[in-house]
């Protein structure tokens, strides 16, 4: 039996295929992009190809992420908060708090026995998301993927106003023209983002083990800054982008096996790999 998790985030689309023993058969990551929003079917095809499977081989599919309603071939939609919680717990069974910093949002989750118990999100303001680093990296003329390593070389941190990305951008220009050292500015930017996200996490109350996921978790400078802001240890999965899709696949498996065991109707519907229509086109 095979199960799939499809995570359509605002920036990246992720697909994970597993079997009933949670073995990973395929993982796909690609930019979501405007044109990709309706093309979850194509990403799914790639993933199936990689695992040499057909769509009919998949027993249950869970879609998650902001684009979860644009996956018509999914059997069920579950929010990324629950899916991340499940995915993170499968990798770190003792996790109690998880922080996911994505391209356009940040979320903090309290987890108990693999289940989401409470959460907070920021998706209003770029200052608390990966977008903050993306925009300021562009202003500094630095590649986003190099930002973390640059930050680690800093000798001190320049304090950056953390209210607004646009103003931070202006501030960075001002700092550069004043001759401030690039490493120190970049470290300051990491610190500003980390303190913003840490404040969000503190709303929930932080308990160990604490796990950081999302694209930003690949950035070593950011992991360091988060540790400092939170004042505690931080675990990072090897593939921090995939925990949502992984959790979705595991939830699909659990749902399916439970129904099977109880002899209930299986949570599977006849499916075709088809294009999505947007949920905003739903009737009022």
């Amino acid at each position: 039996m095979y199960f799939a998790g499809v995570d359509i985030g605002s920036t990246m689309t992720k697909v994970v295929l597993i079997d009933e023993s949670d073995n990973l058969l395929s993982t796909i990551k690609g930019p979501t992009g405007p044109e990709h929003r309706q093309l979850a079917n194509e990403v799914m095809s790639q993933s199936l190809e990689q695992a040499a499977l057909r769509i009919d081989d998949i027993s249950c599919i869970v879609a998650t992420g902001y684009g979860r309603l644009n996956v018509p071939f999914a059997d069920r939609q579950i929010t990324e908060l629950s899916c991340h919680s499940r995915g993170v717990s499968s990798l770190f069974p003792k996790v109690r708090t998880a922080i996911d910093i994505g391209g356009q949002d940040a979320k903090c989750m309290k987890i108990n026995n693999g289940k989401l118990t409470n959460f907070v999100m920021n998706d209003k303001c770029a200052a608390g998301t990966g977008r903050f680093l993306e925009v300021t990296a562009a202003t500094l003329g630095v590649r986003l993927e190099d930002m973390g390593d640059i930050a680690l070389k800093a000798t001190k941190k320049i304090q950056i106003s953390n209210l607004c990305t646009i103003f931070a951008q202006q501030e960075v220009v001002g700092l550069l023209s004043r001759g401030e050292n690039l490493e120190n500015i970049v470290a300051g930017l990491h610190d500003a983002l980390a303190s913003r996200v840490a404040a969000l996490a503190r709303r929930l109350g932080i308990e160990p083990d604490l796990v950081l996921t999302g694209g930003v978790a690949k950035n070593k400078g950011m992991v360091m800054a988060m540790k400092e802001s939170l004042g505690c240890e931080l675990l990072v999965p090897e593939e921090p982008l995939l925990t949502g899709a992984l959790g979705a696949a595991i939830l699909a498996k659990e749902m399916y096996l439970k129904a099977l065991a109880k002899g209930e109707a299986l949570p599977t519907k006849p499916r075709q790999l088809e294009k999505a229509t947007f949920f905003s086109q739903e009737k009022r």
Partner: protein, 446 residues
């Protein structure tokens, strides 16, 4: 070419002793509090509550002022982050978030001790909280929210806010006075119960009389600024105002110092001495200045911009003869009401019904003969910002006076960008020149 910098704003000599007294009062108050004297946290309440506390010899600290201090000293961020973590939405008033974060740190982490990092001695746990309904909702909801950290009583002072047209309904004014007097009488009882002392009514009477006289003289000082060139810059106004607005320090001293200031300004008018070297443009400023970037005004003074009037929320009420009112609580009420309604009859005559705090700017522009307005909307202070688009609209429509708007904030000080603002100064001068012509064409006299 480098020229030795001339002092472009000609500050008043009489401002310095007044300012020194405000600072000294602050330090004395901190010493007294540190020595164990009880203190109250108060909101700027436009006179309703302050004379009562002053007459009862109770120290008052103003968390909104402390918010400004924390921002200027660069320690606000940790308190803001803390308030955020406690679940207060980040778009609330920046000063309120700073003090909510401060209260959380003091009460939850330090068991009521003043945080060691707190600048200027910090604020001790208060005896009670005195909030106010005047001007904005944050002023009483913020203090209610502080109750999450401190089990101390709150007294929200009522402050009627009449409509400009409604104000002329028969008996309307008397009803407001009735509310104020009854309310303050109960407030006195409340304070007496808490401090375990009785009000000395003679002392309250004297305090009230001095408060009114201090503000009258202060008003007269500002009237002198209608002269051309304007003898006193907004910076002197902001430096000198706390003694009248917050009743800082001994009121008899304040009265003498404001009288000295009156003499100096009067002499300048007589000798045609301006607050800046060469007054080319006369401007009105609204509302809260960028406290941390006041040097910005020197650069504008270099260009011939004189700031001749400002910040209606900080100005003393238009004087009203209250000498025949014997009850001090009635005098306090009428004096406090006058802060708003002093402008109403004129506003009604001019048919400017929108915004009790907007009309005074039309009066300022006309009587202080302003060429332009510099508006300073603040991201997290709605009360000092929401009326500004309307002010700009009315100034241009009714007075042909243009406005320049420069954004800032009360806690995120970096939002105010002086370079950016200065870059807009030159094109705005052209705008002011243009409207000077328009005003002449339309028969205005400046």
């Amino acid at each position: 070419m480098v020229v030795e910098k001339k002092r472009t704003i000609n500050r008043l000599k009489s401002m310095y002793p007044l300012r020194a007294k405000v600072n000294e009062t602050y330090l004395k108050s901190i010493e007294a509090i540190q020595a164990g004297k009880p203190a109250v946290w108060g909101m700027l309440n436009f006179y309703y509550g302050d004379p009562i506390l002053k007459a009862m010899d109770i120290e008052v600290v103003y968390p909104e002022n402390y918010g400004a201090i924390a921002a200027a000293m660069g320690v606000a961020r940790q308190y803001l982050d803390r308030a955020d973590a406690e679940g207060f939405p980040t778009h609330l008033c920046g000063y309120s978030l700073t003090t909510l974060g401060y209260a959380s740190r003091m009460m939850k982490e330090l068991n009521g001790e003043i945080p060691p990092e707190a600048p200027l001695g910090g604020m001790p746990k208060p005896l009670f909280l005195m909030s106010s309904a005047a001007i904005c909702d944050a002023r009483y909801k913020w203090f209610q929210a502080l109750g999450r950290y401190m089990d101390v009583p709150v007294w929200p002072l009522e402050a009627p806010l009449p409509g400009i047209k409604e104000f002329s309904i028969e008996d309307y004014y008397d009803e407001m006075v009735k509310l104020g007097v009854k309310h303050l009488r109960d407030f006195v009882t409340f304070v007496e119960d808490i401090v375990g002392r009785k009000m000395d009514w003679d002392r309250l009477d004297e305090t009230t009389g001095l408060m009114i006289e201090v503000n009258r003289v202060w008003h007269e000082v500002n009237e002198l600024r209608k002269a051309s060139p304007c003898p006193m810059h907004s910076r002197d106004f902001w430096s000198a105002m706390p003694a009248a607005l917050f009743l800082a320090g001994d009121l008899e001293d304040s009265l003498r110092l404001y009288q000295d200031m009156y003499k100096e300004v009067k002499e300048r008018v007589h000798n045609h001495v301006g607050a800046i070297f060469d007054e080319k443009y006369r401007l009105v400023f609204a509302e809260l200045p960028p406290w941390h970037s006041l040097a910005f005004f020197d650069k504008l003074a270099d260009r011939g911009w004189n700031f001749v009037i400002e910040s209606v929320g900080y100005h003393p009420p238009i004087p009203l003869d209250l000498s025949r009112v014997s009850d001090p609580l009635e005098r306090i009420t009428k004096f406090s009401l006058q802060f708003l309604v002093g402008y109403y009859q004129d506003a009604l005559k001019q048919n400017v019904l929108g915004g009790t705090t907007a009309y005074p700017y039309l009066k300022y522009a006309r009587e202080w003969r302003c060429d332009g307005a510099l508006l300073h909307p603040l991201i997290t202070c709605r009360s000092a910002s929401t009326h500004l688009p309307y002010v700009a609209d009315m100034l241009i429509e009714k007075m042909k006076v243009p406005s320049l708007s420069i954004e800032g904030d009360i806690v995120d000080l970096r939002l105010f960008n002086p370079e950016d603002a200065l870059a807009k100064a030159e094109p705005f001068e052209e705008t002011m020149e243009h409207y000077k012509k328009v005003r002449r064409q339309e028969g205005f006299d400046w």
